[in-house]
């Protein structure tokens, strides 16, 4: 009998430990007590994606903050959970973290995810998590309302924005010279881009135009491909409570895709289907194999940056040119604009599950102080910051950021911060995927219209 009991005890102990192991996911739960532990998660990693940000967090934020806390007599430990994956994978990771009630205390997110995360109850208005200290923070007066909107949903602010970005056309000046094109290039219409593409076609082994398409590139297809073209036709993805359906404008954009990838073979359709096509496009541009590429300022700062880019170009400043994205024809863009762009922005939110929300806010405020941004600028690759006081110094002498701030941001457009957007975005990606792989524009448009009706309801789709 005693052996039986012993066996039973061992077995139930085993079950108990398994259950415990299953329950304590161990995701940066704060320690509690005086001081405590804080975790930061961001899609940034030493030796990979957004390396400068990762280095700044590791080398400046963590030691400086721990020191500042120690000076106040608090024993605080901060850890950085570095990630270096595709944005879609990163989003999935933090959504799963938050869904399971875990996750880091401070989470880097894309502004466009705020709506769906807030609706799910994964994140809460900043002041609800961080307390009165949030409202009293002196940093807010430096962050313009338009920038704060980037991390707001239904008039509530959910995090501290990290500034704005913009999209431009990058081109390789060496290839342009070879093709007899001007080094100082200013296309005024889609046709000008296609003409340059034809000229580049004469160079062997060069892909004239890379306009992101397909589902493998995820949001990069929508944001750095379809949407900037769409605003060039005067339409937006969401206007007056309706999502864009099979309208003439969307047809023109898909026609452009067909022209580039199928009819005139100015782009490489296979690249759009490869699982890591976007990284490939970066590598090929850096290698001088792509003539024209539509990308955000992120590409300049973090991809082809000579020092800590993921596809560094030593001669970036001499070889790579950038110019505004033209509307389909002059004046055909939204608001009658000649040139267009799309912008988004990232930010950092507090985790409502945090054990030390007030301490977490102190860290978040610290990361957004003027001195923190000054230090951040030292590490390179900084985008236009959310703070006016910082930008006044930062933009001086930084040609690219000044260009984005002065030329791109005034004409840019934003995605709707609605929970349905990510799904509509996937439907748009599928439409480009279909066109690029040879489906007719009519068929692609029809299945897109059907897909979007399935997402938001027939009555909310504008089929022109």
């Amino acid at each position: 009998m005693s052996r039986k009991k012993a066996l039973g005890a061992v077995a139930s102990a085993a079950i108990a430990s398994l259950t415990l192991a299953a329950c304590s996911g161990g995701d940066g739960d704060g320690g509690g007590g005086d001081g405590g532990t804080l975790t930061i998660v961001a899609n940034a990693i030493a030796g990979g994606k957004n390396e400068a940000e990762a280095t700044w967090i590791n080398e400046w934020v963590i030691p400086q903050f721990e020191q500042a806390m120690a000076d106040e007599g608090q024993d605080v430990t901060v850890t950085f959970e570095a990630q270096g994956v595709d944005d879609e994978d990163y989003k999935t990771k933090i959504a799963l973290d938050l869904q399971s009630g875990g996750g880091a205390d401070i989470i880097g997110i894309d502004g466009i995810w705020v709506g769906e995360f807030a609706e799910a109850g994964y994140i809460a208005p900043l002041a609800d998590v961080g307390g009165d200290a949030v409202t009293d923070w002196d940093g807010w007066e430096q962050i313009p309302d338009a920038v704060q909107n980037g991390l707001s949903f239904e008039d509530q602010l959910y995090g501290v924005p990290q500034g704005a970005d913009g999209r431009v056309l990058y081109y390789n000046k060496e290839l342009f010279a070879q093709a007899g094109l001007p080094e100082d290039w200013h296309p005024a219409s889609w046709q000008d881009i296609l003409d340059a593409g034809h000229a580049l076609q004469s160079i062997d082994g060069v892909i004239p135009i890379q306009l992101n398409a397909g589902t493998a590139m995820g949001e990069a297809t929508t944001m750095q491909g379809l949407l900037p073209m769409l605003v060039g036709t005067g339409a937006e993805v969401y206007t007056d409570g309706q999502w864009i359906g099979a309208t003439d404008q969307l047809r023109q954009v898909l026609d452009l895709y067909r022209t580039i990838y199928v009819d005139e073979q100015l782009g490489d359709p296979i690249l759009q289907q490869e699982a890591d096509g976007r990284d490939s496009s970066f590598a090929q541009f850096a290698d001088g194999q792509i003539g024209i590429l539509l990308e955000g300022d992120y590409f300049w700062r973090s991809v082809i940056d000579p020092n800590d880019g993921t596809a560094p170009m030593d001669d970036r400043d001499e070889v790579v040119g950038y110019t505004l994205i033209p509307a389909e024809t002059p004046g055909s863009g939204i608001n009658g604009q000649d040139f267009v762009s799309m912008s988004g922005g990232t930010g950092r939110v507090l985790n409502p599950n945090s054990d030390n929300p007030e301490l977490a806010w102190e860290l978040l405020a610290f990361m957004n102080s003027e001195e923190a941004f000054d230090a951040r600028a030292e590490y390179g690759g900084l985008n236009i910051s959310p703070r006016t006081d910082v930008n006044e110094e930062l933009l001086e002498g930084n040609e690219m950021l000044t260009f984005v701030s002065d030329e791109v941001l005034p004409i840019t457009a934003y995605r709707p911060g609605l929970a349905a957007y990510p799904e509509v975005s996937v439907a748009l990606q599928e439409a480009t995927a279909a066109v690029v792989s040879g489906t007719s524009v009519d068929d692609a448009l029809a299945s897109y219209s059907q897909a979007v009706a399935g997402i938001v309801g027939e009555e909310n789709v504008n089929n022109g």
Binding site: A95, F117, A419
Partner: protein, 306 residues
């Protein structure tokens, strides 16, 4: 099936005494409790939970994440009406048939058969090589294959002198089928090696003396002797291949879903797509298909015995 099972177990209990070990009902029950608790916690509960989730509109983010609604069989209706599901199921069947049943089983058997007369050293060498593919972690293995099939600097393009051929885009299904054969053949080879060792040499001798050709020996001596092994092997490989997620590492289901086998389809629907409820519904359909496969094999196995 259920009644057949009940009948056979009923027969067994009539033949045997009720309590061989003398534990008594309570004692035996106590021994079972830990195992049942584990099974309940990690098998039954998740399965029931999947059934429940499959009948909600639960999502990873958005309003339906905070407050999922019960929607009955709506997910199933949606999935069964979805052309993508049927394409995925078709691709899965091709994948299982091509890489599992035909590829791994046949190749495994051929390797085992041709190895049986080789000298020990050569046999050991070849077995180690085949086994290496099985031993290498699949993530590492898939990186090797990505390097092999790469469009720009891939080894295969260099060997065949076909620069610029994007194998994973142009031949996605063929690529993942060959990849999966490479990964899994070792198991069949090992299983058949030991099975062939168990074929009575006397029978083979006699058949040879009677002038049987290799094919006749295989058909009349070897296969009847290892039928059970073939069945077990095919069952295991079918289920494994049906459920494997590894091809995702090569093609991510692409291009445009051309290699989206069911596990990849579920993953893409449920996790990046955020539709956890629909994902659960497809998972349950997949579980049912698995059960059917297992039952069919078990029935064949039983017919063989009687």
């Amino acid at each position: 099936m259920a009644t057949a099972h009940a009948r056979s177990s009923g027969r067994r209990s009539r033949r045997r005494p009720d309590d061989v070990a003398g534990l008594g009902r309570t004692g035996a029950g106590t021994f079972l409790v830990p195992a049942l608790a584990l099974i309940g916690l990690f098998l039954i509960f998740p399965a029931l939970w999947t059934i429940y989730l499959g009948m909600t509109d639960y999502r990873l983010t958005g309003l339906a994440a905070a407050d999922p609604q019960f929607i009955g069989l709506e997910n199933y209706r949606q999935v069964l009406a979805d052309a993508e599901f049927w394409r995925s199921l078709r691709l899965t069947l091709i994948f299982v048939l091509g890489s599992g049943v035909l590829g791994q089983t046949l190749l495994g058997f051929c390797v085992a058969w041709s190895l049986r007369r080789l000298p020990r050293l050569a046999k050991g060498l070849i077995e180690t090589l085949v086994l290496a593919a099985w031993v290498v972690p699949t993530s590492v293995g898939s990186f090797l294959w990505l390097a092999l099939l790469d469009r720009h600097e891939g080894t295969l393009n260099w060997l065949l002198d076909t620069p610029g051929t994007a194998w994973l885009i142009e031949y996605p299904m063929a690529s993942i089928i060959i990849f999966n054969i490479w990964v899994g053949t070792a198991f069949s080879m090992l299983l058949f090696s030991s099975a062939l060792g168990a074929v009575p040499p006397s029978q083979l001798e006699s058949s040879r003396m009677a002038g049987a050709s290799t094919w006749q020996q295989l058909r009349d001596v070897v296969i009847p002797n290892i039928r059970g092994h073939i069945l077990t092997n095919t069952l295991l490989i079918t289920l494994w291949t049906f459920n494997t997620f590894t091809p995702y590492l090569l093609t991510a289901g692409g291009p445009n879903g051309a290699s989206e086998i069911l596990p990849v389809y579920i993953y893409r629907t449920a996790i990046p797509g955020g539709q956890l409820g629909v994902g659960a519904a497809i998972s349950l359909l997949m579980l049912l298909i698995n059960l059917v496969i297992a039952l069919v094999y078990m029935r064949i196995g039983r017919e063989k015995k009687t």
